[in-house]
C-alpha cells in the first residue's frame, strides 16, 4: 500500500533498488548471529533431560525465521531515486519513510563501509543537510556505484548550492 504512496511521489520505474549482494550480506550477518545461538540451544536441549527443553531449538528457529522475514522486508523497502532537483530515499518496513532531499541543500556526503560490507564490496552513502533530522542514507550500494553516486551528488550539489 505504501509502495503505492511512494510511487505516487517517485513514479513507478524511477525507484532504484539496492544490490542483491546487500541481501546476501544481511543474510550472512543473520547467520553469524543465529547459527551459534541455534547450535547452543540444540546442545542444551540434548544435554538437559527435560521435555520442555526440546522446544527451545524450535523457538529459536522460529525467531530466526521471523528475523529473516523482517530483514527481507526491510531490504525490499529500501529504494532511492535521483531526480532532476532532489534525491528521494525510501526505507522502513513498519515505519515507512520517504525523504525528499534537494541537491541544493546538501552539505556533505559520507561514504562508509563496515567489515561485512567491505567483505561483500558494499558501501553506504549518507547525505547531510544543515537539518539534523534529515535521514538520507542509502546502504548496500556496490562500492563503484557508491563512489559514482557520491561524485554525481557532489557535482549537482555544487551546481545548485544555496545558503542557509
Amino acid at each position: 500500500m505504501t509502495t503505492v504512496v511512494t510511487q505516487q511521489i517517485v513514479g513507478p520505474g524511477e525507484l532504484k533498488r539496492l544490490s542483491p549482494r546487500f541481501w546476501l550480506a544481511r543474510q550472512t550477518q543473520l547467520a553469524i548471529f543465529w547459527g551459534p545461538v541455534f547450535i547452543a540451544s540444540l546442545v542444551l536441549a540434548l544435554l538437559v533431560n527435560v521435555t520442555t527443553a526440546d522446544l527451545l531449538p524450535v523457538v529459536v528457529a522460529l525467531t530466526a525465521c521471523t528475523a529473516w522475514l523482517v530483514e527481507r522486508g526491510r531490504y525490499r523497502s529500501w529504494g532511492y531515486a535521483e531526480r532532476e532537483d532532489d534525491l528521494i530515499v525510501t526505507r522502513g518496513l513498519m515505519f515507512r519513510h520517504v525523504s525528499v532531499v534537494p541537491y541544493g541543500r546538501m552539505q556533505f556526503i559520507d561514504v562508509t563501509a563496515g567489515p561485512i560490507d567491505r567483505a561483500f564490496g558494499l558501501a553506504t552513502v549518507q547525505l547531510h543537510t544543515a537539518a539534523a533530522a534529515t535521514d538520507a542514507r542509502i546502504p548496500g550500494l556496490l562500492r563503484a556505484d557508491a563512489d559514482a553516486l557520491r561524485d554525481r551528488l557532489a557535482m549537482v550539489g555544487e551546481a545548485r548550492a544555496t545558503g542557509l
Binding site: 505504501t2 504512496v5 515505519f95 515507512r96 520517504v98 541544493g104 543537510t129 544543515a130 542557509l164
Partner: protein
C-alpha cells in the same frame, strides 16, 4: 611554538577612549577572569567558610589553620591561571574573520568568517554589570563551528564591536554606525509575571494540590501522597517561573536595519540580534490558560550548531523568545514584521480527516497543516496550541512517514526539516493521498522559492503601527 603573542597595539588611553576596535590584536579587559571565574570563586567561598568554621582549629607553626592555607593556595592558583588565560587571549577583526587566539598549553586559534555570522549578542552578567563589563558573543552557522566569545569587553566597547561585526557581516563599510533601532513592543513586567504563573505546568500542580487537600478529608493517605508530589512538582515549576521571569524581565523588542533586537533580563541583561533572513522557523504558542485572555507567545529558531562544550551550554539554553507574552493581535502583528504575508489562521480544509480522531484522540482538535506561496504551517498540541511557521526558502528536506497504526487509518505524517535546532514542522495525520500531494508541492515550491530570494522585510522604512 612561540607562546608569546606578537606585540599588541599601543595601549593608549586616548585610543581606547575613541573605542577603536581596529585590526590590531587586542586583549580582553583585565578584569575578565574575575567575572569569568566569579561563580567558581563564590562556590569556593561557600564551601570553604562553613568547613573552616566547623573544623577544630589545627594550628600550623605560623598560626594559620591548614585548611585556610589550602584554600588560599587554591585561590592563588586559580587567580594565576585566570591571569595567564587573560594574558594569552587576544582577538582582532581582520581578513573577513573574527580571529580569537587563546590557550596557554594548548594554543587555540579561532577564525570565524564574518559572512557566516548568524547573530551577535551582548550579554552583561550580574557581576559584569557591577564592573562595567559585557560579553560579545558571536553565533555562527555550520556544524563544528564554535561560538566566538569575547568575554569581557567594557560595556561601552561591546556595542561598538557588535556594530562593526554586523556591518562587516552584511558587507557594509567598516565605519558604518550601528543602525537605529525602532522600538516595536515592550512587555510590561506586570503582565509577564501573571502570564508565566498561568502556564499549565504551574497551575496543574496547584489544581492537584487543591484536589488533594479536598481528598485528605475522604482518604487521608492517598490525599497526603498526592499533596506531597504536587508540592514537589510545584517547587520545580516555581523555579522554572523564576528563571523565565529573570530571563524575560523588562523585555523589549525593536527593529533595526540588520535584524530584530531583543533586550531582556533582570540579573543578566542580554542584548540579542536576530538577523533577517536567518530565521528558520517561528512558533506561535498559546498555552491553555492564556487562551482565555487571548495571549500568545512567539519563539524563533535560528540555524545553530550542536553544542558539546560546557562553556557553550549556556548559549544553547537561550530560548529565542521573540516575545514572551503579548495579546494575540500584537503577536500576529509582530509575526508579520519578521515573516511578511504569514497568516497563521488555518483555512477550513487544513484539518486532518475525521478518522484521524481515532489515531490522535488527544491532539485532534488542534491538528492542522497547510501551506501557501511562501510558508508551510503546522499546528499541533494537546493542551497548548502551537503553530510552527517555516518559510519555504528555509526547507532543508521533506519526509513522509507512516507507522503501522497510521497505515491502518490511511493517514501519514509529513515532516518539514529546517536548519534550526529546535523544531520541525510536522503535519501529523494527513490523508495519505493528501500527504503525497503535500510532499510534492512543498518540495516543488521550496525549489522555486530558492531560485528567487524573498524580499527583505521593509525595515526602518515603515513606521510601526503601535509602540
Amino acid at each position: 611554538m612561540s607562546v608569546m603573542p606578537p606585540p599588541l597595539a599601543p595601549a593608549d588611553p586616548q585610543e581606547s577612549g575613541k573605542m577603536e576596535v581596529g585590526e590590531h590584536w587586542r586583549r580582553l579587559h583585565p578584569l575578565s577572569p574575575i567575572v569569568r571565574f566569579g561563580r567558581v570563586l563564590i562556590g569556593v567561598v561557600v564551601v570553604a567558610v562553613p568547613s573552616i568554621a566547623e573544623q577544630p582549629v589545627l594550628h600550623h607553626d605560623d598560626g594559620l589553620p591548614v585548611s585556610v592555607i589550602i584554600y588560599i593556595v587554591l585561590l592563588a592558583l586559580g587567580g594565576i591561571g585566570g591571569f595567564i588565560s587573560w594574558l594569552v587571549t587576544r582577538w582582532r577583526i581582520a581578513d573577513g574573520n573574527l580571529q580569537i587566539e587563546t590557550g596557554f598549553i594548548r594554543r587555540q586559534s579561532l577564525r570565524i568568517p564574518l559572512s557566516r555570522i548568524q547573530a551577535v549578542d551582548v550579554i552583561s552578567p550580574l557581576s559584569g554589570r557591577f564592573l562595567g563589563l559585557a560579553e560579545v558573543r558571536v553565533v555562527s552557522a555550520g556544524r563544528g563551528a564554535e561560538h566566538g566569545r569575547l568575554a569581557y569587553l567594557t560595556a561601552a566597547q561591546a556595542p561598538v564591536v557588535r556594530a562593526r561585526l554586523l556591518a562587516l557581516a552584511h558587507g557594509l563599510e567598516v565605519g558604518t554606525p550601528e543602525p537605529m533601532a525602532l522600538p516595536l513592543l515592550h512587555v510590561q513586567n506586570g503582565l509577564l509575571l501573571p502570564a508565566l504563573l498561568m502556564r499549565s505546568q504551574v497551575l496543574a500542580p496547584v489544581l492537584i494540590a487543591v484536589v488533594a487537600v479536598a481528598a485528605i478529608a475522604a482518604a487521608p493517605l492517598v490525599g497526603a501522597g498526592a499533596l506531597g508530589s504536587a508540592v514537589t512538582v510545584f517547587v520545580i515549576s516555581a523555579l522554572g517561573v523564576a528563571r523565565a521571569f529573570n530571563e524575560d524581565f523588562d523585555f523589549a523588542i525593536s527593529e533595526a536595519g540588520d535584524g530584530v533586537r531583543l533586550d531582556r533580563g533582570l540579573l543578566q541583561r542580554r542584548h540579542e540580534t536576530i538577523p533577517y533572513g536567518r530565521i528558520q522557523a517561528v512558533r506561535v504558542v498559546e498555552p491553555f490558560f492564556w487562551r482565555a485572555f487571548g495571549w500568545a507567545r512567539l519563539e524563533v529558531d535560528v540555524a545553530r550548531q550542536s553544542v558539546s562544550r560546557e562553556a557553550d551550554r549556556d548559549a544553547q539554553q537561550v530560548a529565542r523568545t521573540l516575545i514572551p507574552v503579548a495579546s494575540r493581535e500584537q503577536a500576529l502583528w509582530l509575526l508579520a514584521r519578521v515573516m511578511p504575508d504569514a497568516h497563521p489562521n488555518p483555512p477550513p480544509e487544513a484539518g486532518p480527516p475525521p478518522r484521524a480522531r481515532f489515531k490522535a484522540p488527544l491532539s485532534f482538535h488542534f491538528l492542522a497543516a497547510w501551506f501557501g506561496q511562501r510558508y508551510v504551517y503546522a499546528r499541533t498540541g494537546r493542551v497548548q496550541k502551537s503553530t510552527i511557521i517555516v518559510p519555504l526558502v528555509k526547507v532543508q528536506s521533506v519526509r513522509l512517514k507512516s507507522g503501522p497504526l497510521q497505515r491502518a487509518f490511511h493517514v501519514a505524517t509529513v515532516d518539514v526539516d529546517t536548519a534550526g535546532r529546535r523544531w520541525q514542522a510536522s503535519a501529523r495525520c494527513r490523508d495519505e493521498a493528501e500527504a503525497v500531494e503535500m510532499v510534492r508541492h512543498i518540495s516543488e515550491r521550496a525549489r522555486l522559492s530558492r531560485r528567487v530570494p524573498p524580499p527583505r522585510p521593509a525595515s526602518a522604512v515603515v513606521l510601526p503601527a503601535a509602540g
